[in-house]
Symmetry: C2
Subunit: 431 residues, 2 copies
């Protein structure tokens, strides 16, 4: 029997109970993710809530295991882990049917994920994440389209240009900067790994490893300065001059033109400080941040052209991003972009008059609901019309249908207009 | 590193990968569950994907543990389990805020659940389940409303009366039958437990225990006969005569009248063979079955007036049911009730003419999507208008927008009608 007194039972630390109000807000995000994905031509997919532990090791090595909730079935021999990110599932699914799937592959998913981390602001043990992935197209228009989807979602939720910025880096640009500082071409991968781990390293350790790659303290400082600056998208000359390049790399020229064509250059900036995942990503890397704030990244992604091969599939270019629900919800709350009422009220509230036959009232509820209308009535025994109209208004109903033994009236609760209506006209009138 | 070769990586046994086509079918069910719930006045809730193991023991005792995927965080001391059913989460949430929540509480949820069972037809290790719960109302109209929601969902998906039947039993009726057969009132609970476990017991063991309750073999046979018969809802006299009652119990009279008022008596039958959970449920018990088939129950539920107290909350009457996605999907496939195309095609497919500026084409895609329209274009390099119109038709687009350097035409792909259109009219015309 349980060792916890029932009165102490609660949701596990870092998870959430979604009561109706919280759920309506949460559902608004999930719906927006889905709506925006579909209108951008992405198809929805999903995978299991748990995967074999091995699947996560393919992408991230053994180091990932401590961040996972892993388990075995009693008597079983396979280790499983709760889904911690979508990419390994996506890669497994694409690799398995790579030849049969029509190209390009434009997929999205909005599932929940679990990580055995310490809960903190913007990071929980169970969270939802929107994943948008575009596979089979190598050109920069796919990169820009994916960034467009991210911006389209932000606009859909009422976020305005200037409130959030998509900060973009590119491996080719960083490579060029590193090479100009003296890092030999054959050691660029090491340098990317060093940059990725920068925030986790002591400054002394970082400096020592950088020196090993040919970056002495003045050069590290120069790199640091470059990584602190942001350059407007749509104006590559500025970036090239600041980095002392004769011309920006072709990859970036193509991406910049596409960001302009998609009309989102104003939302974007180049920022070589976006280094997370440079070793994993193969081209564009980007993160979206609230401009003014100090929150975690709202979203992050980039081009990962080698992933499908890693999972046993064919060579397949790919670009995508993930956006979590927790930081996004914080942003909407901070910017006061949450609607006053997260859900819709009923189409109609049925008010039984004093002489109404209860079965007739039930019949109206049943018929209108079967006709696709959201219909409610009272569960209170009262037949006080004033009180019931108040209940209807409190429920945010659009109309009240007043049902008497020989009368039927429809009241528009916004205008107050009320008039008799024939039985057969009610449903069409409400629609 | 992983011990499995990457080419062998697959979804865990009993779980599913939802590729776009499977996902569209799955989404259709989830959307129907949600749409029907909302129009019936239920509010959506959700809880964590894992709970403390103790939570499941409160409702089901220690016996439940072997059916759960349970785990501990490395270094932690709490046992968790993947969510196996919604009721314990619901009971915990209601008990915690019982006084603050407006009554009645009408909640639904559509989450995924996991059970460590052997996968078989209609039963997987990960499945989705629709939970509909109505708390705070003791009368039979709540029972009938909940059955109405179940029928409303079936109709919404195209199921017709006669294809599925809701089989209803009631503890009060079974109690009366058992008492008439000689079971003393104080041993009724034991008798309910015996009936619940009937399908798991050897006939000899069952007969022996039944004899202990005063049911000798002829009486067991009589009970067996009663449990094999079905009686139409809306005609209680028939049932009462068959059971040799002077009058049916009041509880059933009320329920019967409400099923008639909700217009669903034709979908329902009384069936004392629905015994599963009689010990747990406190009044009505029901299961929905495909009429012709031998599938598992599509849905099951009933009245459970003591649950919230068990979880430390106040006394609160409650009635509800659960419906799984796997058996429902089997039904829709068997009855050919799946739509040919599970998702919508795009509103518009943008066809670049030979002289089109690629950036202008991208601009159209971006503007229309931002305006809420589902817009696609080709990713192929071809500018062959015939081929591109074929691609548009293949994608099931409603319209094609033909973009040239100095021309803009809109083609209705259903009628073939094509005409010039001004830039500013495109979006409104597509809406």
């Amino acid at each position: 029997m349980p060792s916890t007194p029932v009165s102490d039972l609660q949701a596990p630390r870092g998870t959430r109970d979604f009561y109706p109000e919280e759920m309506a807000r949460h559902r608004r995000l999930l719906d927006a993710w889905r709506r925006v994905s579909l209108r951008n031509g992405f198809e929805e997919v999903d995978g299991p809530i748990f995967e074999t532990l091995d699947l996560y090791k393919v992408k991230s090595g053994d180091g990932i295991v401590s961040e996972l909730f892993s388990f075995r079935r009693d008597g079983g021999s396979t280790d499983y882990a709760l889904r911690a990110e979508f990419t390994p599932t996506l890669a497994r699914m694409v690799a398995k049917r790579a030849n049969g799937l029509p190209k390009p592959i434009k997929w999205f998913a909005t599932p929940n994920f679990c990580r055995a981390e310490r809960p903190q602001r913007g990071r929980l043990r169970e969270f939802w994440q929107w994943n948008v992935d575009f596979l089979g197209e190598a050109g920069p228009s796919a990169d820009a389209e994916v960034v467009f989807v991210l911006v389209d979602l932000l606009r859909e939720l009422g976020v305005r240009e200037g409130q959030v910025q998509v900060r973009i880096s590119h491996r080719a640009v960083v490579a060029q900067v590193l090479q100009r500082l003296g890092v030999p071409a054959e050691r660029l991968t090491e340098a990317f790994e060093l940059l990725d781990s920068r925030s986790k390293l002591e400054p002394g350790v970082f400096a020592e490893r950088a020196a090993g790659l040919g970056l002495d303290p003045p050069k590290v400082q120069r790199l640091d300065e470059v990584c602190r600056r942001r350059f407007a998208a749509g104006d590559l000359g500025h970036l090239a001059r600041a980095l002392g390049m004769d011309a920006p790399p072709d990859d970036l020229v193509g991406l910049d033109a596409q960001l302009v064509a998609f009309g989102i250059a104003g939302w974007c900036a180049y920022d070589l400080g976006v280094v997370r995942g440079l070793a994993y990503y193969t081209g564009t890397v980007f993160e979206a941040f609230e401009t003014a704030g100090v929150e975690r990244a709202l979203a992050g992604g980039g081009r990962y052209d080698r992933l499908i091969e890693t999972f046993g599939g064919p060579a397949m270019p790919a670009v995508g991003f993930g956006m979590g629900d927790v930081v996004l919800a914080n942003l909407l709350r901070d910017k006061k972009l949450e609607p006053e009422h997260a859900g819709d009220g009923p189409d109609v509230f049925i008010v039984p008059l004093a002489d109404a036959d209860p079965a007739a009232v039930t019949g109206w509820v049943a018929r209108l609901r079967s006709g696709g209308l959201h219909a409610r009535t009272t569960y209170k025994p009262t037949r006080n019309t004033g009180k019931l109209l108040k209940e209807a208004t409190g429920a945010r109903a659009r109309f009240a249908l007043l049902v008497g033994v020989d009368s039927l009236e429809l009241k528009n609760l916004a205008t107050g207009e009320q008039q008799a209506i024939a039985d057969e006209d009610v449903a069409s009138r409400l629609r």
